[in-house]
Amino acid sequence: MQVFNRRLLTWGIAGALVVVSGTALAQGAVAPEYRWLTFSVFAAIIGLTMYVTFLAAKRVKTASDFYTAGGGVSGLQNGWAIAGDYLSAASFLGIAGLISQYGYDGFMYSVGWLVAYITVLLLIAEPCRNIGKYTLPDILAYRNNPRAMRIVGAISVITVSTFYLTAQMVGGGVLVKTLIGIDYEYSVIAVGTLMLAYVLFGGMVATTWVQIIKAVLLVAASLILVMLVWTPYGFSLPAFLQDVVGDPKVQARVASLLGDPAKNMTAAELGQRFLEPGLYFKNPIDQISLGMALVFGTAGLPHILMRFFTVPTAQQARKSVVWAMAIIGGFYVLTLFLGFGAAKHVGPQAIAAVDAGGNMAGPLLAQFLGGGPESMLGNFMLAFVSAVAFATIVAVVAGLVLAAASAIAHDLYVGVYHGGDVVPPQQQVRAARIATVVVGAMAITIGIAAKGQNVAHLVALAFAVAASANFPCVLLTLYWKRCNTGGIVLGMIVGTVVAVGLTLVSPNVTYPKAVREASQKVLDGEVAKRSAIEAALASGDATAMAKAATDAKALDKAVQKARDDMAKVEGRTTSLMGLEKPLFTLKNPGIISIPLGFLAVLLGSLLFRDKRSEEMWPEVYARQNTGILVSKASAH
């Protein structure tokens, strides 16, 4: 087995490297002559994480090793691993990008991601450690009907993880393609293969270390960039921001965001507007709905909950959340400087030109600070940040795949199929590895199939389902005496169905009629705009001519996009759900689906009765509060 493992591992490393380096190269953010630099940094990080996986593989013998690293992770290590598991590319690149494009609103968005951990800390982490074992359904099954809990729990874990995973795979594929220019499909396969190598051989031990290494690299890279950005201002916040709002690129961005109302504003007012709310979030109810999904959803994310089973005691679980909050919060504060720094140095328009979502803000800032696209150091820094971004995606995907695989192997195979009979450890680990391969293959397939789709809302949907189904179920089973099997089954179904259902009829999906109307409007306006640009070009005024040239480029882009959009919805009049326009006007379902999820658990518990749930209450209640038997359980 040992030799077999080693051979497979070598194979995996070789395969991943071939995939990363030997593929069709297109244009990326890294110039071709410096691509070797990027690959060297990638190879160094992959080599380090593979070495850790190799060491870890020797330690994975039982199911407990595979799922929870044998419960032997310390609070400090787990804090870094939680940060590594949580700080996905969406927050590393996405939030810095949002700040660089929309200023204040981007920073406000990041706050909810940290506050989420207060819910985890106060309500979820310690009780889960006290009564849980490997997975989220374990917590529910402790009190309620185990078979029913494992089935609904596993379905929910797989649903949430798949939504999250799809967003990560597609985002990762696009990111690697944008950064170094390898084809999308190969990017997805590279991310998937590496992740499989970590999880398959090293289980939770390797996953934990990959997440720790990634979090350390991420924080180090951000700290270096922030030092470079902030030092010239003597570490003064007002002086730094003064320079940001005084920048013509930033002012031009605000003017284009505001449209007509910007005409009466001075340049200083436009710049200051970048530090004020409302450039990105237009609907406060939608934003509160998103905030609810973040603040309550994190506590129901299976891959985050799973991390609390890797520490030995409730005290260590608490310590790990406090560390995680320090790292995650500190990182978001650094992001403030990365985002505003990128807006000032690179410019919102230049960032959006590489990636419309602004995701390249951090990497492009790194390149600028190192000396620009022509310099060696600039390219080295871009390569480093790109490699960290790559490691980020792989580490998050590894956590997600492990969570989904454990639901299949531990809950469905061992728990339901074998009905709780004793299954030998080797067989459990083999089941876990087979499930890992299945989930990994599924992730790669979905990633390739979803090419070109807008999957950004899937992360928000994963949080919404976690907040509406998992969170009420876990919370009430831990804290409410009357909670029982009926309540959990109903809560899981209602929470999931409402969150997904509302999203399907929300503005997140494509409405061909609306797309056609919007595109038509762009095409209709083309002639008038074209003549205005030509008039400006003929005017002889240098500033007007420069502006007209940029406008012409933007117009070409808009017209091309309108044509593409028209072609995409060709022949269709209704959305996926057969609707002409959204039935539900919010993008985030949380404000409706979370209360309904809670209501369903309450009603289900009161309508149905379950003797086991009642009898087990004193034990759950006593154990979650005191940790009785935890020290004993971890001792053997």
Partner: protein, 107 residues
């Protein structure tokens, strides 16, 4: 899920020490949780409905909105540290005492 112990759980939760621990924890956690949720939602609500306040410059170009968002981080960390202090000092010792007692009796 049988754990092979013969601890009388009804007796544990009827224990006055357990009752006292639970009461202290419950009121402390509820208060802290409600405070942090309300405090967090003040940020988006204020950004939507109190724009003039958010736009008020306080420290150079730094406005109230930006300082309030930064304060959210400080408060979140503060809550985490305050909770761990109280839990480490107060709840843990009470929980350990109860756990040791019943594990010895029933294990």
């Amino acid at each position: 899920m049988a754990n092979g112990s013969n601890i009388d759980w009804d007796k544990v939760i009827a224990d006055p020490r357990f009752q006292a621990l639970h009461r202290r924890k419950q009121s402390f956690l509820t208060g802290l949780m409600v405070f942090s949720v309300v405090f967090y939602f003040l940020l988006p609500i204020g950004a939507a409905y109190f724009q003039d306040l958010y736009k008020t410059k306080v420290w150079g170009v730094v406005n109230f909105g930006l300082l309030f968002a930064l304060l959210q981080f400080v408060v979140a960390w503060g809550i985490a540290i305050y909770y761990s202090r109280v839990a480490n000092r107060d709840f843990d010792s009470a929980a350990r005492e109860i756990a040791a007692d019943y594990e010895k009796k029933g294990g």
